[in-house]
Amino acid sequence: MTMPKSENPDGNMHVQFYSEHTVGSDRKEILTFQNNHHKDIQDSIYAMFDVYLQPNVEVYLTNNTFDNISGLFGGAYIYNSGPVEMRNNTFMSSTNFGYSMIAFESTNGDVTIDGLYFEDLVSSGFSSEYFIY
């Protein structure tokens, strides 16, 4: 499993995996990312929350703020996960140069977003990519 890549997180970064990850396992696993504040991160190659998972991994992002970020992939990139739940997340004063501010790719289950706040964002976009994908 690729752990979330985070460059210079400002504040407490909290990533939890409950139970060991086993490829192909039917056992439900949970990835939680909550109460993090990332600020003033420039020219990041990766998304601030950047995970490559397996379908049995549920993802929860709760109460996170991404402030003054510039980079290629923006805020969150979640690949090949199980269901995703995002609650009360803020993306502000940031620029991403090509890809999504938030991207879900090959998600195996429902995506639920409750409380998502975009403020003062610019996406310059050299390709046809998107804020939420």
Binding site: I113, D114, G115, E119, L121, G125, F131, I132
Partner: protein, 218 residues
């Protein structure tokens, strides 16, 4: 996908879509959301949905949504590539307020999977007010929808007020081949400059399925 309490303010989407779903999904629900002071460009949209079986959008405010450049066209707040009628649940867009914008509200391009029972897209309680369109804009655009089956776009309590189309445009533009395609009831249009309502067949050689406005009551 469910989106609740999604707020976007002072944001430049530019040549991108704000929310893009590039595959066929079963369900998209968007509720209780506010979009204000957003620029889009290059034929993009706030919501670009390739194909959906069941769409529900309600309690949404759009204000000051504009194109990045003055000559951009084809930008919409909601752009539905196709509604897949294999689901038995109809799609609805309701309780939306749109003001001070320069782009269209809804583009709906096609349906897939012919319905076996009467089906509809229901749009109701939408207010479009206080907007000036510098280039031709269709606020509601239903284009190239073609079916011999019973499919209707039902628009109820749609209110257009204080809109100015500098170079023309339409409140509703429908170029389709649907026999019972459009119902507009209990709706109003007031203080409109340069805007029209257009309903016609996109293929005028195919008159077996004429496009017609089945009911319009204001």
């Amino acid at each position: 996908m469910t989106l609740n309490d999604f707020r976007v303010n002072n944001t430049e989407v530019n040549s991108q879509n704000l929310v893009y779903i590039d595959t066929s999904i079963d369900e998209l629900v968007v509720t209780n959301s506010i979009f204000s002071t957003i620029k889009v460009g290059g034929s993009t949209s706030l919501f670009a949905i390739t194909s959906v079986k069941m769409l529900q959008m309600s309690a949404i405010e759009f204000s000051q949504i504009s194109s990045s450049s003055a000559d951009d066209s084809g930008n919409y707040m909601i752009n539905i590539g196709a509604i897949d009628l294999s689901s038995e649940v109809d799609s609805t867009i309701q309780n939306c307020q749109v003001s001070q914008t320069t782009i269209g509200f809804l583009n709906f391009a096609s349906i897939t999977n012919e319905p076996t029972q009467p089906r509809q897209l229901e749009v109701m309680d939408v207010e479009v007010t206080n907007s000036q369109y510098p280039i031709p804009v269709d606020i509601f655009n239903f284009e190239r929808i073609s079916t011999a089956q019973d499919f209707t776009i039902r628009m109820t309590r749609i209110h257009f007020e204080s809109l100015s189309f500098r170079l023309g445009g339409n409140l509703i533009n429908m170029q389709a081949l649907i026999s019972n395609g459009l119902v507009v009831i209990d709706s109003t249009a007031s203080d409109i400059t340069g805007g029209s309502m257009n309903v016609e067949a996109f293929n005028k050689q195919n008159l077996a399925v004429p496009a017609k406005l089945s009911k319009y009551r204001i």
